[in-house]
């Protein structure tokens, strides 16, 4: 699970703040009246934060008795 989450995190960084931006931010488009670029960043924020929360609850909490 640790490795899976790390790979997902890196993947989300590449898409959200890296070359993946070409999918949403190369052209000015809108979805439901909102800029597609803005929605793209918001989506990856939820994914990245979700991964941190998931890792914190399921993996890192094993070190709590420290």
């Amino acid at each position: 699970m640790n490795l899976k989450l790390s790979i997902w995190f890196l993947f989300a960084m590449l898409l959200g703040a890296g070359p993946g931006l070409f999918f949403a931010a190369g052209e000015s488009r809108t979805i439901l009246g909102l800029p597609a670029f803005y929605l793209w960043v918001i989506f990856w924020f939820f994914v990245l934060s979700g991964i941190v929360v998931c890792a914190s609850i399921n993996i890192w909490s094993r070190e709590d008795e420290d």
């Binding site: 931010a25 009246g33 960043v41 934060s49 914190s56 909490s61 008795e65 420290d66």
Partner: protein
């Protein structure tokens, strides 16, 4: 109505004085207590002090200013925050664990111990810390001057002890003296407790400014209608100035964020945390709350400001709208202009004035929380890593007083540089320092290869680490105004493509690995002991 800013500012100053007094009353006269508050900080204090140290006035001025200048292209920058949050646990819990076991106070204590008591490594870590910290203190003091000018625009000068002071001078003096006093008297405990107040103000200010902007522009639908009507360059990468290519954004998100999380002030906060559980919960809160406040708060102010007051392209670069400012650097003022222009209209004169004052005090809190943490960390680094090496027979009491002396000297030096820069057109160290503040994180990033090896790999040698750090610092130095002209075409090109810290990191890591391959390994037993103290052991 005119008294509202005085009352809000007075209330804030009174709260800070109370915190300072409480910190002093609870403190003990030991180095560990003064610098690490007895290593007992809980979740609330740890989370908010890490947040408040992470963001300076940049959170409420600089970042929305860049959104105003470049449009949506700067929004992905907020995605560095979940990674920074993760780093609080992944790096912080190991640093905290071994720090408690071995009594470390500064980053240099830990690095030098890992490399067999190397004073060269300790000195290099102190140098990297110094290069990161000093420009930040100066920039925060300067922000205090600008804020005072904005809060009291009707006052040109005040008379104090027979001397006439401009509001800029008064703002810098007040911010420096209050910050210096509570760091001096209460140490880490006062700094961290005041960070709680300042962190709450900072988060509240970020969200409030965003919500107010959206409503001032007619609600969510109307806000986004005005946003999507902006020119294409404001809605796409690389942004209006062409500065934000995806690779540059990615390397900033990955490396600048990690560099900031291992700067001396943060490193010492990991030592000060009560346990791994504290850091785990802080990581979770940081990774969710802070990016939320950016993406749904203060970044929307910059974007809305761009829609209402579009900047223009001039010979000097992107010029702000005359309502926002008259120089390219004044894009930073967009938040202040937006709230001063629109909040009183939206909320009425009384409530509007109260909220405007609260947000301006939040900007001041952001500046003070960074200045105090950096001042405190620099005092520890210079006392423990430099003075103690020069005078090893010094007592704990002597070092505590030297640390306090350093706080006074650094504050006065920073204040003098701010004033000299403001009063004398020929004296321009501030311009250099302002430029340097952008590479400050890049200098801090040069600690990253050593930190990653020390915490997770354990293969580097002392010679490899020294060679790597020196190479990384030299590479970053080449990107500064002090770099050689001969390499300028290359560094200018690289700067457009990648984060500067990343460029230094690559060279640093390559040199570290290569030199470590050809130099004698560290004592295996000592490294094994060190790694044993780093790791979590189930009871």
């Amino acid at each position: 109505m005119e008294q509202v800013p005085h009352i809000v500012l007075g209330g804030y100053a009174a709260l800070l004085i109370c915190i300072c007094w409480l910190g002093w009353r609870k403190g003990k006269v030991t180095e560990e207590d003064y610098y690490l508050a007895g290593r007992g900080q809980g979740i609330l204090v740890t989370t908010l002090t890490i947040m408040a140290t992470f963001f300076s006035s940049a959170a409420l001025l600089g970042i929305p200013g860049l959104v105003y200048r470049d449009g949506l292209a700067f929004f992905p920058f907020a995605l560095n925050l979940p990674l920074s949050g993760a780093a609080i646990f992944l790096l912080g819990s190991r640093i905290s664990r071994i720090g408690r076991k071995r009594g470390y106070v500064t980053p240099g204590d830990m690095v030098a111990d890992y490399y067999g008591g190397s004073d060269v490594m300790r000195g290099l870590v102190a140098l990297v810390g110094f290069l990161y910290v000093l420009p930040y203190i100066i920039m925060q003091i300067k922000a205090g001057g600008y804020l005072a000018q904005r809060m009291f625009p009707e006052v040109e000068a005040v008379s104090l002890f027979g001397q006439s002071l401009t509001m800029f001078d008064l703002g810098t003096n007040v911010l420096s003296v209050i910050t210096m006093l509570y760091v001096l008297i209460g140490g880490m405990r006062s700094v961290a407790w005041s960070d709680v107040l300042q962190g709450v103000l900072l988060l509240m200010g970020m969200l409030l400014a965003g919500v107010a902007t959206v409503f001032a522009m007619g609600g969510i639908a109307s806000y986004f209608e005005q946003v999507i009507a902006m020119p294409k360059e404001a809605l796409t990468i690389p942004g209006a100035s062409g500065a934000w290519s995806p690779w540059k954004l990615l390397t900033i998100c990955l490396f600048a964020s990690l560099a900031t999380m291992i700067q001396p002030g943060q490193w010492m906060r990991y030592y000060a945390a009560r346990s791994s559980k504290t850091l785990r919960k802080s990581a979770m809160i940081f990774a969710t709350v802070l990016p939320f406040c950016f993406l749904f708060g203060v970044m929307l102010v910059g974007l809305g400001g761009r829609a209402l007051y579009p900047p223009t392209v001039g010979e000097a670069g992107i010029m702000p709208h005359p309502t926002v400012g008259n120089k390219t650097s004044e894009v930073d003022q967009v938040v202040i202009v937006m709230i001063q222009e629109h909040l009183p209209v939206l909320l009425g004169p009384v409530l509007g004035a109260i909220f405007v004052s609260i947000i301006l005090v939040a900007v001041m809190a952001a500046s003070m929380s960074t200045a105090d943490s950096n001042l405190h960390a620099l005092s520890a680094v210079l006392t423990r890593d430099i003075y103690d090496r020069v005078r090893p027979q010094s007592t704990e009491r002597e070092r505590a007083w030297i640390g306090r002396g350093i706080i006074v000297v650094v504050t006065l030096l920073a204040l003098w540089m701010v004033k000299a820069g403001a009063n004398n057109a020929d004296f321009k160290p501030l311009e250099l320092i302002a430029t340097l503040s952008f590479v400050a994180m890049a200098f801090s990033c040069q600690l990253l290869p050593v930190a990653l090896d020390m915490l997770f790999v354990g293969k580097s040698t002392k010679a490899g680490a020294i060679a790597g750090m020196v190479s990384g610092i030299v590479v970053v130095f080449l990107f500064t105004p002090f770099g050689f002209d001969a390499v300028k075409p290359v560094t200018d090109q690289l700067k457009k493509l990648f984060d500067i810290g990343f460029c230094g990191f690559v060279v640093n890591a390559l040199v570290l690995v290569t030199v470590s391959k050809f130099t004698p390994s560290q004592d295996a037993e000592r490294v094994a002991d060190f790694r044993g103290d780093l790791m979590f052991k189930s009871k």
